[in-house]
């Protein structure tokens, strides 16, 4: 397979995963906003700032709009073509990557992406009203699931699929790490019932944003606890959106591509670390510092993949 084609397939899958993450993020934000909204109906700035901060778009947003409102943030993050992190922009990138290699994709994959793109291309701001926005977000999530179904259900078990898998899990690992790192600092556990209730809802929103609420309930029989959430999302191999889950998949794909690749060695090291540490270690290093290092190592692996397989000098 051409190195450029591999690169395009890698990015196609990576962009679709990014779309799904943005959609989850927006849904969690909307949920959070409901919990924290004041009675006068004003939007909570700190809640609506999250999607912008996490995608690094805050400065651009403020340069264009004076006020943070739920409607503006939704519109900006979903449909704004001038925002490179919007769902529409990222989907456009995914489709362009697919279009560049469509001869290597099955019709199911291409048509899934193309239909999604054609539908969002015609989507207008009107459809983002409160009453219909959930439907739009649900629909987008479903399209992402459909894409993965088409990918794993129709692609030949060959290089192309491995590069798609790499794109998907590098993006996922990166997103989970950055999302966890963006959480506000938590004070020590409190006995204040009001604080406990609030933390329950925040923890729920956090897990839902990472699509892992059920996973938590099934794994731990305890109450919601932020340390356990971190443990689940960092160390548990069975959780599809955990860092460990992502790295395991990266290792599998790299091993299938070339057992002697330098990128595989780096991935093995990262995997070994996640396999052998306990959550106490993460706490001692500091959650943010740990996650920052993790993101950095993922970036290095990604760059090494370029050198190993795409003949990038």
């Amino acid at each position: 397979m051409l190195g450029r084609a591999a690169d395009n397939i890698f990015w196609m899958a990576r962009y679709v995963e990014r779309v799904e993450n943005i959609v989850r993020l927006l849904r969690a934000t909307a949920l959070n906003a409901l919990l924290t909204s004041s009675t006068d109906g004003a939007d909570d700035d700190t809640v609506w700032a999250r999607p912008l901060l996490l995608t690094g778009r805050m400065d651009d947003f403020l340069a264009r709009y004076e006020q943070l409102t739920s409607g503006r943030v939704m519109a900006y993050m979903l449909l704004d073509r001038d925002n490179p992190a919007s769902v529409k922009s990222v989907l456009a990138n995914a489709r362009e990557s697919a279009r560049a290699t469509r001869h290597l994709l099955t019709n199911e994959i291409w048509e899934c992406l193309n239909k999604t793109w054609l539908a969002i291309k015609d989507l207008h701001y009107v459809s983002l009203q409160r009453s219909t926005i959930d439907d739009q977000l649900d629909w987008l999530s479903e399209r992402c699931f459909l894409f993965r179904g088409a990918l794993f259900g129709s692609m030949r078990r060959d290089e192309g699929l491995q590069f798609a898998n790499l794109g998907l899990y590098l993006e996922r690992g990166d997103h989970t790490a950055r999302f966890l790192a963006s959480q506000p600092d938590r004070a020590a556990a409190s006995d204040d019932p009001a604080v406990k209730v609030r933390e329950y809802y925040e923890g729920t929103a956090l897990l839902k944003a990472l699509g892992s609420y059920r996973a938590y309930r099934e794994t731990f029989s305890s109450n919601l606890d932020f340390t356990r959430i971190a443990e689940l999302m960092i160390l548990h191999a069975t959780v599809p959106r955990s860092l460990r889950g992502a790295v395991d998949e990266i290792v599998v794909s790299l091993r299938a591509l070339n057992p002697a690749a330098d990128s595989l060695k780096a991935a093995y090291e990262l995997q070994y670390r996640l396999q052998t540490i306990q959550i106490g270690h993460v706490r001692r290093v500091g959650l943010r510092a740990f996650l920052f290092d993790f993101s950095k190592e993922l970036d290095d692996i990604s760059a090494q993949i370029q050198r190993d397989f795409m003949m990038v000098q």
């Binding site: 397979m1 051409l2 362009e96 279009r99 560049a100 019709n107 193309n114 290089e159």
Partner: protein, 478 residues
Amino acid sequence: MSQPAFFDEMHSGGGVRQAYDRYAAWLHSVPQEILQQRHDQANSLFRTVGITFNVYGEEGGVERLIPFDIVPRIISAEEWAVVEAGVIQRVDALNAFLNDVYNDQEILRAGLLPPELVLTNDAFRPEMLGMRVPRGVYAHIAGIDIVRVDAETFYVLEDNARTPSGVSYMLENRQAMMRLFPDLFGAYAVAPVSHYPEMLLDTLRSVAPRGIEDPTVVLLTPGQYNSAYFEHAFLAQEMGIELVEGQDMFVDDGDVFMRTTRGPKRVHVIYRRVDDEFIDPLTFRADSALGVPGLLAAYRMGRVTLCNAVGSGIADDKAIYAYMPELIRFYLGKEPILKNVPTYTLRKPDDLAYALDHLAELVVKEVHGSGGYGMLVGPAATKAEIATFRDKIIADPDGFIAQPTLALSTCPTFVDQGIAPRHVDLRPFVLSGQKTSVVPGGLTRVAMRKGSLVVNSSQGGGTKDTWVLEKPNARARR
């Protein structure tokens, strides 16, 4: 001017022509709403599959659908036999001519062609002189544009020997028709066309450099913003070959390689959809990012085969066109099967004088133009347009040819007002490798505007599925 009577593919000679009998009966019985429904279905089908072409210089929605018409153009087995023999003959002559002008130049020595017409032509590539290409084939893929004016007479309007496009529409149109009208395919024995990519791959493999048993074939595209990108991707997928861009390949010590995930891989045959000027910045345009530095040298050394050959454009030059009947007689010793449109070469003073006197009746084309750009259709032009064009001709008579306006046949077409006749042409695709062959069918292009004679997609033309009917009992024998 009196309205010329046009030959209609479905109704002529006072009734429904035989090839259309069952179709006409069906069309007559089917309600307008059903046709509209099928028409809409076809559009959404093409949009989903992404069968689009990119329009140069248009902002915003750059990917556009070519209008697809749901009424097929039907050709009887007998008619096809003539067209098939005619285009094969034509392409054999084109290849013989190319092999000659780049080697022995007997045609020039025989005095049948003015040497300056060839040697000073922009499409002539002196870099190709003295090179022997595999099997002596230059135009491996050729599209011959044919129009019909009455029941018996087919004219070749244009030869396309560079990088003819449109074959993906021939294939996708058939797919769409089979999905939309399965019953009709039960009523008619339509010759299949879907094996074209298989034939194309065979052709490409058959011209690999000598001694290569299992050649690696690739398709070289200018990239996904090219107007025919869909077709490039489609053909690469159908043939199961890599779709490469210039940046994906490099030349090392005379061999051509592509950059793969497992390192460099040798390439033997390049089906290139990039024009001559852009394929090698070391030889042609230095600013081209679409080509591969050193490719021409590798080609000349016989390490790689380019399809079509560099310099094939000289054969489809509109100034050479006028001499095609002579070339067929000279190289093949046979009379041309298909007619040539009488052509006034405006570099000749007599022809120029005649053309300037009769601009309102003639079609005038730029010698190097294509895609329907820069042409004048006299009968359809305003006085002002004619006056402007006259000035252009006088400024550069060598740059133009003129032809009488042909009465292109019409075919019933589904338009806003219902079914109405629209002018059509036909482009069969001829493949030359070990032998010369053509799939039974081609691309029928249709001028969607009433009265228009310009069928090019860049000028609002649409396409139709082309049904070549099999000889009775052909099915049983297969």
